[in-house]
Amino acid sequence: MKHTKHYWRAGFLLVGGLIGFIFVRHFLVPTSFGQFGFYRGTNLAEQQAKSVVHGGKESCSTCHEDVAKNHAAGSHAVVQCENCHAALSKHINKDGEFVELMPIDRSPQLCLRCHRSLPSRPTGFPQIETKEHLGLDEPELQAGACLACHNSHRPSLEKKKVKYENNG
């Protein structure tokens, strides 16, 4: 075969590339890949070993019993504390030690995340058009605009007769 030297070299490069790919792939694909399914088997253990980030509202009520009681009596009873505040681990570490104060977001955007008027939300669910409700468009609202009237832990104004501490 005359005049085929460059083909042999190109072929050698291609085969070399293929062998290189198989070689690199061998190191890139984790050994536990496919152990249980189409994923890395050791990933399960890694996920299990992760420290708990969220605690659920029961963990909050161990210290904040008064707030929890008030919260449980209102329409927000189904909403987890951590939905509006932050994950428990930001406030208390896994050993039960205090880390920092829980952040409190007073922005109307937090309330509107659930209560912004959207046709996809169920009928009867409180949905707010800020222009109609407060006379202002959403960007014009100040922090605390919703909290001026509503207690976020127990927001219904009909239950206003029930005495509860200011925002607590």
């Binding site: 005049h3 030297k5 460059h6 890139l28 189409f38 959207l118 046709p119 996809s120």
Partner: protein, 389 residues
């Protein structure tokens, strides 16, 4: 906040496939289109495309090398991109990407290499220092440019180009398949989708070559080949007719069937996408270039070269917009209506965001810059006096 109309599901609010996913099929389409033009010369012996036979290959390569960048920019974890190559899961159409892209890249690189091999060897012989080393590496150290070797190269190029046509069609057809195979979305789910993508890809590829070729000739101060432009205009017209026919066929079928999805697709086309679909894709991008190309092709004997060049240049520029609008209408259009079929949301990319307009412009310019660099390393245009071969 979101501009929403009527009934949306909460998970309809976010547009997941952004402007970057519009750019990806656009760039891949240019790859396939430019390659088809090169094959018209290398396989089908369309001698009028000789002036751009090599240039179209480089164009295809430049766009292929940058085709994945919009996806990498879109991915939250671009470092995981290789997973699709090393552990493809064939229950997903996307798994085909690694194989199709790699195969096509190999075929195209080999073809470019063989087409330019004689030049590479000549440059290696004529240059010194680093430049010589670079060309020597590119020649793989073999300086055999005997007529027998070149004849063999010529035959292999023909075979590679013949393999490359289905490979290019597969690469781009696969992109169309990704959309066509999504059964939950009536605007995407049609077996016509890969075919529409393919034909519009050829349109964009030829249009880009018309523009690049004319600019390159102006730059070099050489005459634009009238035969080449005439041929490109003819093929462009043909592929445009087929593309628009297929695009309309899909919509006419939906409109005639009057199934439940038409309730959302009709307002989608006439309201939400009225500018990008009716104005850009159908009128400015399809009707006007179709008339311009019809004039160019049918009245060719009355036409001076300059006028022909200008008309095809304008038509091609509009067609690049048309194909981009088509990609936009498919990718974004398929996401802005609710799967409830009763609501819409809006999508406007910001200029500076990660997947915004500036990123798209840069990703569009990058293959052009790469093409200039490639053209410096492997000059694709031969002196017009050189014999045909």
């Amino acid at each position: 906040m979101f501009e929403t109309i009527n009934f949306l599901f909460p998970n309809d609010l976010h547009i997941h496939w952004s402007l970057m996913i519009v750019m990806y099929p656009y760039i891949t389409g240019l790859v396939a289109g430019a390659f088809i033009v090169s094959s018209l010369y290398h396989v089908f012996g369309k001698i009028e495309f000789r002036p751009i036979g090599r240039f179209s290959l480089l164009t295809s390569l430049a766009f292929l090398l940058t085709a994945t960048l919009p996806l990498l920019n879109h991915l939250g974890h671009p470092e995981r991109a290789m997973n699709i190559m090393i552990t493809p899961h064939f229950s997903s159409a996307m798994a085909g990407f690694g194989i199709l892209y790699t195969f096509y890249l190999i075929v195209l690189t080999l073809e470019v290499w063989l087409v330019f091999r004689k030049d590479i060897v000549d440059y290696a012989r004529a240059s010194t220092g680093l430049r010589r080393t670079m060309y020597k590496i590119l020649a793989l150290g073999v300086y055999d440019t005997s007529p027998e070797a070149l004849e063999k190269d010529h035959k292999v190029v023909k075979v590679l180009a013949a393999i490359g046509i289905p490979a290019a069609c597969m690469l781009h057809g696969y992109v169309g398949f990704l959309f066509g195979g999504i059964k939950a979305n009536p605007w995407w789910s049609t077996p016509l989708m890969p075919v529409i993508f393919l034909f519009s890809a050829v349109v964009s590829g030829i249009a880009a070559l018309v523009i690049f070729y004319q600019i390159a000739m102006r730059w070099r101060g050489e005459a634009i080949s009238a035969d080449c432009i005439r041929g490109l205009a003819r093929w462009l017209w043909l592929f445009l007719i087929m593309t628009v026919t297929l695009e309309l066929l899909e919509i006419i079928t939906l409109a005639y069937e009057q199934a439940e999805e038409w309730e959302v697709i009709a307002p989608l086309l006439t309201h939400q996408l009225s500018f990008s679909f009716i104005s850009l894709q159908m009128i400015i991008g399809a009707l006007i270039p179709m008339i311009l190309l019809m004039i160019t092709v049918l009245m060719d004997s009355f036409m001076k070269d300059k006028l022909r060049n200008m008309l095809t240049f304008i038509a091609s520029s509009l067609l690049l917009i048309q194909v981009f609008a088509m990609r936009w209408n498919v990718v974004i259009g398929g996401q802005i209506f609710s799967k409830s079929f009763r609501g819409f949301r809006d999508y406007t990319p910001h200029f500076l965001e990660k997947e915004g307009v500036l990123a798209a412009i840069l990703l569009g310019l990058l293959p052009c810059v790469l093409l200039i660099v490639l053209s410096r390393v492997l000059p694709p245009f031969r002196s017009q006096k050189e014999p045909i071969g």
